[in-house]
């Protein structure tokens, strides 16, 4: 996958002599010492990361950790004190004003926490703003604004003014304004932070839905880990200006880099993060064509299994339980007749939360791929063990 955004050793000092503060940082002074001696604030401290095309990169951290500063350096609203910020090989930290303006017009759009809609313009005019700035003709502008509004489900509200809409609707307009100019990158600075929880989770789902078809590169800022876990392909955790960990949701929850991250992840609902893959055992299926009940029973005994999956020409065919196999051996019944074809199945990417009802049947869950091949098996006990694990 190609890299869309690449930040290399980015620093941001707020103050009148950034070079001095950078020097002190290099000498190993802490941010507090630098603030005490020079009055300058270290906003972002040596941050590097890469965002791949089409991924949702979530940056999270507590208030004041430098998230907004970081995201504003991606479109040049804030100029880094040192470092490179590459968007498709253009360094927005050092490029000319014209190039920067072109990047903003064509590649990067931004969605703001408090919506930042222009109160003197209608919703449609707001959405068309980026296009107007670019010099797109009025007719085309109107058409594209309308299309963007329909994407976010506000096709009929184009003539309203922003203050006539609810918060959730206003942020949809903000999103539509970002989408209307068809940018490759969408920067979202706590876009749902000002919305109440119900609307917020609606908006998260809707963003996921949109992203499925749009496949934009999204940098999403939040201070809510659950939101990060729901939306992010990659999650970066910031603390006090530095990036302490970058990884997938699972990596971060299962393997927090330090106590700060661990404190975040402690309350996380693990079943929303972990996939079936993480607790699966390797599959040990038997081939239906050349196995009889006695062999199946022996197989289960050697491996200590309660049930075994059967495959037919490589595809999952059914499941045989220990009890049934035992009866079959006694009564001399063919294996085929005691095999259950109705069994719990899932895929490797299924979240634990969705495995829970399947595990209730007490049978091992078969993990299959698109072509019905058996990838692995999840023991029902393992599901419950993981769930209780997360709630220590």
């Amino acid at each position: 996958m190609t890299t869309k955004i690449s930040a290399k050793n980015i620093f941001k000092i707020f103050g009148n002599n950034p070079d001095q503060a950078l020097g002190l940082l290099q000498k190993g002074q802490s941010k507090e010492e630098i603030y005490a001696s020079t009055g300058q604030t270290v906003g972002v401290d040596d941050v590097s990361f890469e965002v791949a095309e089409g991924e949702v990169f979530v940056v999270m951290g507590l208030s004041g950790s430098g998230k907004s500063t970081l995201v504003r350096m991606i479109n040049g609203l804030i100029k880094p004190s040192a470092g490179e910020m590459l968007i498709d090989d253009i360094d927005v930290a050092s490029c000319s004003r014209d190039v920067l303006r072109r990047v903003r017009r064509e590649k990067v759009a931004m969605v703001f926490q408090h919506f930042a809609l222009f109160p003197h313009r209608t919703v449609a005019e707001n959405v068309a703003f980026g296009l107007k700035i670019r010099g797109v003709k009025p007719d085309e502008r109107r058409e594209r604004a309308q299309a963007a509004l329909e994407q976010v489900g506000l096709g009929t509200r184009g003539d309203s003014f922003p203050d006539e809409l609810s918060g959730g609707m206003q942020q949809r307009v903000g999103l539509a304004r970002g989408l209307a100019s068809e940018p490759e990158i969408l920067l979202m600075d706590e876009p749902f932070g000002a919305l109440d929880p119900l609307i917020r989770s609606d908006m998260q789902q809707e963003l996921l839905e949109l992203q499925r078809s749009l496949k934009k590169t999204i940098v999403f800022i939040t201070h809510d880990l659950n939101e990060a876990l729901i939306l992010g392909n990659t999650i970066a955790i910031m603390r006090n200006g530095s990036m302490v960990q970058i990884g997938t949701a699972e990596q971060i929850v299962s393997n927090p880099a330090d106590d700060y991250v661990a404190a975040f992840t402690r309350d996380v609902d693990r079943s929303l993060v972990f996939t079936a893959q993480s607790i699966a055992d390797p599959a040990q299926p038997l081939d239906l064509a050349n196995t009889d009940a006695t062999a199946a029973l022996a197989h289960m005994e050697t491996h200590g299994l309660d049930a075994v999956h059967m495959v037919d020409h490589g595809k999952l065919a059914g499941i045989v339980t220990y009890r049934d196999a035992n009866t079959a051996v006694r009564d001399d019944v063919a294996l085929k007749h005691i095999m259950q074809e109705d069994m719990p199945t899932a895929s490797a990417e299924t979240l634990l939360v969705d495995l829970y009802p399947l595990a209730e049947k007490g049978l091992p869950i078969a993990l299959t791929d698109d072509e019905d091949r058996l990838d692995g098996v999840v023991a029902p006990q393992a599901v419950f063990a993981q769930l209780s694990n997360g709630k220590q």
């Binding site: 303006r101 903003r104 759009a109 931004m110 930042a116 003197h120 703003f129 700035i133 203050d163």
Partner: protein, 310 residues
């Protein structure tokens, strides 16, 4: 008693005299004279236009404007006030005064808004401008009539120039303030979509500052009106002259009539310009509705759209 003047006397009057008389006047008089040219042109065309417009037409048009902007109450007041002015025989003077005031305000807008925009963009420029504006507003207007007369001579145009100087500060200040008050995240949003500074000004800052700018315009207008009598002393005409000559001849009646004319004109202009400030967009009920409103005690059908909140 001991006083500083025993040891030190500063001949400030002589210094200023020599600065103005011996240096500014001989060297720059042509320059200052040439500044009058645009003022004279605008004034001439305005006076010509207003003079040629029949009283009835003008009254009808201004009442209509008042109605579209400020509603029927102000419209009715405008109608009656203008009729009254005509009845007391001060119509030509009122038109002259109006032409002067409008000319002065016109130049205040042309000069003041760009200066206000510059001040909002540059802290340095603002820091330089501020004390100058403070001085302009604190110096009593009588005081700078003298240098104005020396540099520009007497007559209508110098009177208007004095008015411009006196009335300029509010529109500069409030343009600056209005633009600086535009919410930060809105300007940030505009920049993030790649707006140039000019696009930012025209698409976001100025439209959002417009209310404040209009409030500044209203103040400027009122200050300009307040100079009407004073400029009569350096040869400007109109209602100010009526008052001034009335005072000189102890003609209480004449002076009062002129004064009433000024007050009525001031009220009309103030109401209309204030209404412009308060409305976001000028949306008014139809003519028929208003006509109905004039004659019915209660409006039969409230067809008016509710006004949008600010």
């Amino acid at each position: 008693m001991l006083s500083p003047s025993d040891f030190l006397s500063i001949p400030l009057d002589d210094w200023v005299n020599s600065l103005v008389r011996d240096w500014l006047v001989p060297n720059f008089r042509p320059f200052f004279r040439s500044l009058q040219w645009p003022v004279t042109q605008v004034l001439k065309s305005l006076t010509g236009f207003l003079g040629a417009t029949p009283m009835v037409v003008f009254t009808a048009v201004l009442s209509l404007v008042a109605w579209r902007t400020a509603g029927k109450g102000v419209a009715l007041f405008t109608l009656l006030a203008l009729c009254f002015i005509d009845a007391i025989g001060l119509w030509p003077e009122t038109m002259t005064t109006l032409a002067m005031v409008v000319t002065a305000v016109f130049f205040c807008i042309v000069i003041g808004i760009p200066l206000g925009v510059l001040a909002s963009r540059s802290d340095v420029f603002r820091a330089i401008l501020r004390p100058i504006l403070d001085i302009m507003q604190t110096i009593p207007s009588f005081v700078y009539l003298v240098p104005i007369v020396m540099l520009f001579g007497v007559g209508m145009a110098p009177g208007i120039i004095a008015t411009i100087i006196f009335a300029l500060p509010p529109i500069i200040r409030l343009t600056d303030l209005g633009i600086r008050d535009v919410r930060n995240d809105l300007t940030e949003a505009a920049v993030s979509f790649g707006a140039t500074p000019w696009q930012m000004l025209m698409e976001v800052q100025f439209p959002l500052a417009l209310r404040t700018v209009m409030a500044g315009l209203n103040q400027t207008l009122m200050l300009a009106l307040s100079m009407v009598v004073i400029t009569a002393m350096i040869g400007a005409g109109g209602l100010g002259l009526t008052v001034f000559t009335g005072l000189g001849r102890l003609d209480v009646g004449g002076a009062t009539a002129g004064g009433v004319g000024i007050v009525l004109l001031a009220i009309i202009l103030d109401r209309i310009s204030q209404a412009l400030t308060e409305k976001r967009s000028v949306q008014s009920p139809s003519l028929l509705q208003t006509m109905r409103g004039f004659f019915a005690t209660r409006r039969p059908v409230p067809l008016e759209e509710p006004e949008r909140a600010g």
